[in-house]
């Protein structure tokens, strides 16, 4: 898989925009995925899914605007995505929400790794933190222990 780092290995606007495009793709997937999550949850838990989906829509829109300001092509949402496992229960739905948030977290860590602009890192660490806070709640709902992670978004060593 190609690295986005520029030919000189340096970080620049190209590496940053490429990472932002990947983050945008992850946000698109999260927005879509929360539709599946919400449909499988009982009414008492649908509020959290709705709030999570709204948060991802807001972040998605911020990234779209940011890329547009730079004249960079956005990434468009896919018509649908392959769900990694059957979502047949509330527990399955929570586990899918964890997958969505973990995917988003990894994308924003990538932005932190590739960004050159301080404002972009501010955006990234905020989005990363929000994703992990949501993920902790979903892991607990899914019965995953521990519910917290030492290094959200970073590869396991």
């Amino acid at each position: 898989m190609a690295d986005d780092t520029s030919d000189t290995g340096a970080l620049d606007a190209r590496t940053e925009n490429a990472a932002l495009r990947s983050a945008l793709a992850a946000e698109h997937a999260a927005v879509w995925g929360y539709g599946v999550v919400g449909a499988a949850l009982d009414a008492s838990a649908q509020g959290l899914a709705a709030v999570s989906e709204t948060a991802h829509r807001d972040t998605r829109d911020r990234v779209v605007d940011l890329l547009a300001e730079r004249g960079a092509d956005p990434v468009h949402t896919a018509g649908g995505y392959a769900v990694p496992f059957p979502v047949l229960s509330g527990t399955d739905a929570a586990a899918l929400a964890v997958v969505l948030e973990d995917g988003v977290a990894a994308a924003w860590v990538r932005v932190l790794d590739q960004a050159v602009e301080r404002t972009t890192r501010e955006l990234a660490v905020g989005a990363l933190t929000a994703a992990e806070v949501r993920a902790v709640g979903w892991r607990a709902t899914a019965g995953q222990t521990p519910a917290t992670r030492a290094f959200p978004g970073l590869p396991q060593q």
Partner: protein, 162 residues
């Protein structure tokens, strides 16, 4: 065919970031900046100082878990996994800032007895998360990624302690 929901973003190999992180840590450890990968991980003296400061912040978190455990043994058992994660974070931060040294861990202060211990510990964790997040934006490359990830991890712990 529908694309899979990404467990990591398109174009982002977990191996890639791991390699970038390793390159960055290698640069910090050796001071070598000969390769292009090392070039992107060059650290200014100011960034190095700030990273060392975050090591001290994390040491305070680890101390806070110890103090909270002494004040409230039941809480110690409940948050053992969180304390272990704080230890892991400290080890990674120290590896990323090899110039940092601390002869004695900073005192987190005395933890109040139960039932106030949990709220006190939560404040310590949240304060450290905010500090790492603020420091993250002034770093770059693997150091920014590491600090941002730890900040998010501690924010998650804060939520768990709520």
């Amino acid at each position: 065919m529908s694309p899979p929901l990404p467990s990591c973003p398109p174009g982002f190999s977990r191996r890639t970031l791991l390699a970038a992180s390793a390159a960055g840590l290698a640069v910090l450890a050796t001071g070598c900046t000969s390769s292009s990968a090392d070039e992107r991980e060059k650290v200014t003296s100011r960034q190095a100082d700030e990273l060392s400061a975050q090591v001290a912040v994390q040491e305070a978190v680890v101390s806070a878990f110890v103090a909270a455990g002494a004040a409230d043994p039941a809480l110690a058992a409940e948050v053992a996994d969180l304390a272990a994660q704080a230890d892991e974070q400290l080890a990674r931060l120290r590896a990323a800032a090899p110039g940092s040294s601390s002869s004695a861990p900073p005192a987190a202060g005395d933890a109040p007895p139960a039932p106030e211990t949990r709220a006190w510990l939560r404040t310590q964790v949240a304060t450290a998360a905010a500090s790492h997040a603020a420091a993250c934006v002034d770093q770059s490359g693997a150091r920014a990624a590491l600090l941002g990830s730890i900040a998010a991890g501690l924010a998650g712990q804060d939520g768990r302690l709520a």
